[in-house]
Symmetry: C2
Subunit: 442 residues, 2 copies
């Protein structure tokens, strides 16, 4: 493993340093003050959806669970914290033993959320919970932003195949998480090999313009590709002249040619021309893949075009205009002393400058309305009213430090599709709008 | 190390799978066709700057060098590629031996760039160069986007201290790279402990609202913090009433109080009030740090406010509206056969649909104009004209597979400051504009 001064970020041995400096100085001061072990509840929520968005998508929960499991301070990390004076001796000792022993509840991955939804609740001592703030928010804010964009693109694609191919447009490891989030949001495959390796997302890909340019002629390149990858491959037809390339492609691969890919030009026009040409050449089953700077609006505008699959890069991995969510991790209740069973007191910031929050441990419920469709997201504190007991959204994720909510990304993907189907129909509109459920506080 | 199906992305043992599937299928087909070892040149450039931006900032070069050094296929990665059928037997064998043995030249890290600038040039066989495309672009597109935002913020801050604190708003490892890029762009410190650990960026931080809320009173919290972190600490004064908090802060820490932090409200107004109050209380040296949803425009608007330091999060790590660059990695020349010394032939995509590029190996030069200030970025192919020999921008980064261009982030930071100083004055305007240098092709 490489720990060099400009080392690529692949070798960080635990998640413990994905943490803001102030989490450790708060711990240090609280340990000294005798307040660090007060029983505490932190909640993740957002005050608003990105401008114009109608729902949010919870993604990253599985990665949060892994981050918690891997959150331990190793020897060289402790030495770093000691050498740089971030913490004092007693804090170092405490960190060396650190394992999260508390509980986590939350909206399950793939579920939708609205302003105020209690997306995640972390319960334990102040000390053990406060340390998790930064990495929990990093994961949820990033992954949920990508999943929300993916979900809108999946709506726009109306069942046509969606390929995530944004690796080159985002940080190399953010790209792996983005593939996973896109899959949860409704994408089918990814170009990213690490996402296949780490998360089991199916990977696809055949060739780029460089492959055509490497060869003396386009026909040489097509023959080389078909020889190696078979007639079912996808040939890229826009390096020189599209019509000539399509003719050569079918001549070389025969009508069994899997697909052609178009990566530039007026996709609507070109797709129609290519479809007609393929059909005339007898390649009726050859599919058309388009891949040029697509977003949900471009995908929607191609609904009438003879396109079989969309490859999406930049706009997907950058959240289609909203590269992050505004989720925060707030202390909402804590005990008045360190003794076990000291009762919890709700707490909240109260200054005049905004960023207000509501104290107290919250639950979220989404009851169906008279026609079976919910109209409100109910966020409450205190006992759950009996009539809402069946509509609660949170599930148990960590119990006494043990991960109990792990599941494969495919489970979250399925849950997201089902969650979308239960929302009011207006959730599927791509135009800017208000959240489709009103948040009602109880 | 954790390789679980939803494992957090910290344990990928090499950079080889941060790669799009099609790079490997191109390799597979080229190996079979006998074209894989044609001598080739790939170049990284961008066709345009983000809308309205006047210059770009090269960042990530140091991480690219590490990515190349760590690009090797390990046993479990090869097994994955075999099991999933991405490559065939001969390709697997070739990958098992893979080490980059070619050359890399490029604009040094921290340098500015313009449309068409040959930011990076990778030379070797097609096979060894094509594999690097995805990870090279991931690193440069991400890091350069953050550095460009940081550079504009540094201009706006006019020498006041800048703290990067966006970890919670981006992927946990993107955050580490973002801290590094922000430092190169002109930031002074970061909240991100992993950025301190991995890249040596100075880390800072004291406390959040949760720390105040943990304690029975704000005064208890302030006392606990000062007891542990000393009078030089920064107290957060906007949990309840700002004026009351400032009074308590100076009472508890004395006039030696290091700083107060304001994280909400009308920062211009509040900063003026707090400065007046601190001065009246005799705390004339106590600094004011502001940290609420800042970007370069908000920073500029606080130029007249008595603010000593800015903490910037979301807008910095998301590139202030431009979370990625549009850098591409294109084959620009290759030999007509596999024999060594076969001459290079310039190549370029030529279809009517756009995304055109210029074939041939390029150099970039930035000669000073009559008044000492450059007006053009000259991008040429072929021999360098004698009068430009002293103005070439590219440097040697990798020679025969060996890294020769490694340097600490501080060197890139210094270079960026100097590069900015040499640009026309209009580079420092935050308003939307054209690139300050025109690209001239020779």
């Amino acid at each position: 493993m490489n720990h060099g001064p400009s080392g690529l970020s692949v070798a960080v041995p635990s998640t413990a340093l994905f943490t803001d400096h102030y989490e450790l100085t708060m711990l240090r001061a609280a340990l000294r003050a005798g307040t660090a072990h007060r029983h505490s509840v932190f909640e993740v929520f957002t005050r608003r959806l990105p401008e114009g968005r109608r729902y949010g998508v919870v993604a990253g929960t599985g990665r949060v669970l892994d981050a918690i499991a891997n959150f331990r301070f190793e020897q060289d990390q402790l030495e770093f914290l000691d050498r740089t004076g971030v913490v004092d001796g007693p804090t170092l000792q405490w960190l060396a033993e650190y394992r999260f022993t508390g509980d986590v509840h939350g909206y399950p991955e793939g579920e939708v959320y609205f302003p105020g939804s209690p997306i995640l609740r972390v319960t334990g001592t102040f000390a053990e919970c406060v340390l998790l703030e930064t990495v929990v928010l990093s994961v949820l804010n990033h992954d949920s932003a990508v999943a929300a964009a993916a979900s809108r693109m999946a709506i726009a694609a109306r069942g046509r195949s969606l390929i995530e191919m944004g690796a080159r447009r985002t940080h190399e490891l953010a790209a792996v998480a983005a593939s996973r989030a896109a899959f949860i949001g409704g994408f089918d495959t990814t170009s990213n090999l690490a996402a296949g390796y780490r998360h089991g997302i199916p990977t696809v890909g055949t060739s780029a313009h460089a492959f055509t340019l490497l060869h003396d002629t386009e026909r040489d390149a097509f023959r080389a590709q078909v020889d190696s990858l078979g007639r079912g491959t996808t040939l890229l037809v826009d390096t020189y002249d599209v019509a000539e390339a399509v003719r050569a492609a079918v001549e070389i691969a025969g009508p069994e040619l899997g697909a052609v890919r178009i990566d530039s030009g007026d996709l609507l026009l070109v797709a129609h021309r290519v479809r007609r040409q393929l059909d005339e050449l007898g390649a009726r089953d050859t599919r058309i893949v388009v891949t040029s700077d697509l977003d949900e609006y471009a995908i929607a505008s191609l609904a009438a075009a003879p396109v079989d699959a969309y490859g999406v890069g930049t706009q997907l991995v950058t959240g289609s205009g909203h590269p992050t969510c505004s989720m925060v991790y707030k202390l909402v209740a804590r005990a008045g002393g360190e003794a076990p069973d000291t009762p919890l007191v709700p707490v909240a910031k109260k200054s005049a400058g905004g960023k207000l929050s509501i104290g107290g441990v919250k639950w979220g419920a989404r009851p169906a309305g008279p026609d079976g469709v919910p109209t409100t997201e109910i966020v409450g504190t205190g006992p759950v009213p009996e009539e809402l007991a069946g509509d609660l959204i949170q599930v148990e994720l960590v119990r006494g430090g043990e991960i109990v909510g792990a599941e494969p990304p495919s489970a979250a993907r399925k849950r997201h599709r089902e969650a979308l189907e239960r929302l009011p129909l207006s959730a599927g509109q791509l135009s800017r709008g208000e959240p489709v459920l009103l948040t009602e506080y109880r």
